[in-house]
């Protein structure tokens, strides 16, 4: 009985390791993490990863350098946050480039006095909570 329990637990741990090792295409690289502050120029929904919902992308012009960045937010944030052209954001995330275009996979956003956590420090997505899930989650009573 005990031996069987150990085998199953070992199997679960192996599965967990396998899950951790998966990557597809570009991925969050903590070594290229940077912080930018800028103004939103464009907002679009765009496919980014195979077999995943399209991402909310905001195109930001950095205040200091006037450089443009495509910032990957997440799929569900399209419904939970209303970004507009002209609004200011501070984005912390992992930078990568494609065809001369600078991209940032956002980990954390500062916006209108709120911090939106999109990933943990290792870059694992923390996208939980679409429109309905946000409504259902409770952190104390709302009167």
């Amino acid at each position: 009985m005990r031996k069987g329990f150990c085998v199953i637990l070992l199997g679960l741990l192996v599965f967990q390791s396998a899950v951790f090792c998966q990557t597809t295409g570009h991925f969050y690289n903590v070594d290229t993490e940077k912080k930018i502050y800028g103004t939103i120029q464009r907002i679009i929904m765009e496919p980014r990863y195979k077999d995943a919902s399209p991402f909310l992308i905001v195109v930001i012009e950095e205040k200091k350098t006037k450089e443009m960045y495509n910032v990957e937010i997440s799929p569900v944030r399209f419904f939970t946050h209303d970004f507009h052209k002209g609004e200011e954001l501070e984005v912390t995330g992992s930078q990568y480039s494609t065809d001369g275009q600078k991209n940032i996979i956002a980990r954390q956003i500062r916006y209108r006095g709120e911090i939106i956590m999109l990933r943990d420090k290792k870059g694992f997505p923390a996208w939980r909570g679409g429109e309905m899930k946000q409504r259902k989650r409770r952190k104390g009573k709302r009167f």
Binding site: V76, F78, G113, F124, P125, K139
Partner: protein
């Protein structure tokens, strides 16, 4: 056999977070000096343990949430609930998308409150579109069906809302919203009393507090509509401020119960957004203070009339007027997010004045919480 079931349960619980994209555990401690929110204040402390997990499968994600709340002074108020659901995001274009969600929920109280036990089914359909880079249109439809331990409370409701916002160069956002709701009680022929014992906090001869009307042919549906407006001002990325106003009307029908009761943290089927008409105004300040702590302070004032509910004196004699409440509420919330841990602290004080003396009350509510988040899945 019992050991096998226990082992299966342990393995299921252990393996769920391992296969989830997100798994979180939260513990909250609440303290109040008026748990029944009426003129006879009673202290209580509530402890809440919550888990949440979700898993993405291609474009569909599954999620589940469970919660157990224990009331220390009034253990009969303790309850647990479980939600399970799935959602789906469908992009209609580069600038618009649909969102659909299905949720099943079960709420389970101790025997004294098992009339409030329910199983519910919810469907949400939403659409959002950018009309221009600075203007957003959103609409939501929600279908809700609730089946209670006491079938008197069973209902189906439909809610529809549409909003439009515009952002200006002054960093100001203006938003307008129109909403409509329809709630239909499924057992219109029933007529009985749901007694709530004195030990639950109701004194002064008003023990039997919820009474269903005896007229079977009366329309057992309530229809409401509301308009809302909001002006928000951003100041850099660290400060946000908004003021809002809402006016709600009962278009048809009225409350089928003789009283509308609120309990702290415990959902009461006699009190919800369908039970009143009136207005609400409010303001909220959000500031990122040093160490990236999120501070929210808000003030809300509301005036609500409860159609169909007559005010009573403390002995239960009718006063000949419809119940009307004026409420002022101040709230402060602090939230600090670390990589995997979030901390919460909130304080709310409420002054509720009513022409029904039972609902003339003040209350203070303090909560402290910690949430631990673990993120798994594919590292994109």
């Amino acid at each position: 056999m019992r050991r096998t079931i226990a082992l299966f349960f342990v393995l299921t619980v252990v393996s769920l977070p391992l296969t989830a994209d997100t798994f979180s555990l939260a513990f909250f401690q609440y303290r109040t000096d008026n748990v029944f929110q009426n003129a006879y204040p009673e202290n209580d402390q509530l402890s809440s343990l919550n888990f949440y997990l979700d898993k993405d499968f291609s474009k569909i994600s599954l999620f589940a949430e469970g919660n157990y709340v224990y009331a220390h002074q009034h253990p009969n108020l303790s309850y647990s609930y479980l939600d399970v659901g799935l959602d789906y995001l469908y992009p209609a274009s580069e600038k618009s998308a649909f969102y659909f969600a299905l949720i099943g929920q079960g709420m389970f109280y101790r025997p004294d409150y098992e009339d409030f036990n329910y199983l519910s089914f919810n469907f949400l359909g939403a659409f959002k579109a950018y009309l221009s880079p600075t203007s957003i249109f959103k609409t939501n439809y929600i279908l809700e069906y609730k089946h209670y331990g006491n079938s008197l409370f069973n209902f189906i409701s439909h809610s529809l809302d549409a909003s439009f916002d515009a952002y200006f160069q002054t960093r100001t956002t203006i938003k307008a919203e129109l909403s409509w709701g329809y709630k239909y009680y499924l057992n219109s022929e029933a007529s009985e009393e749901v007694p709530i014992e004195e030990e639950h906090g109701f004194r002064g001869g008003r023990g039997d507090i919820i009474i269903y009307p005896s007229t079977a042919d009366e329309d057992q549906a309530i229809q409401i509509c509301a308009v809302k407006g909001l002006i928000a001002q951003g100041i850099g990325s660290r400060v946000g401020f908004n003021i809002s106003g809402m006016k709600q009307w009962t278009l048809s029908g009225e409350n089928p119960f003789s009283s509308a009761l609120e309990f702290y943290m415990v959902e009461n089927p006699s009190y919800d957004r369908f039970s009143w008409q009136g207005y609400q105004i409010g303001s909220e300040l959000t500031v990122l203070v040093p160490w990236n702590i999120e501070l929210k302070m808000s003030y809300t004032k509301s005036e609500k009339e409860f159609p169909g509910i007559e005010s009573l004196d403390l002995e239960g004699n009718p006063l000949g007027v419809t119940r009307q409440d004026t409420r002022e509420q101040f709230e402060a919330r602090l939230e600090k997010n670390f990589s995997r841990i979030s901390l919460f602290l909130s304080y709310i004080t409420i002054d509720n004045q009513s022409n029904d003396p039972l609902f003339d009350w003040q209350g203070n509510f303090l909560s402290l919480g910690v949430e631990w988040n673990v993120f798994f899945g594919v590292k994109k």
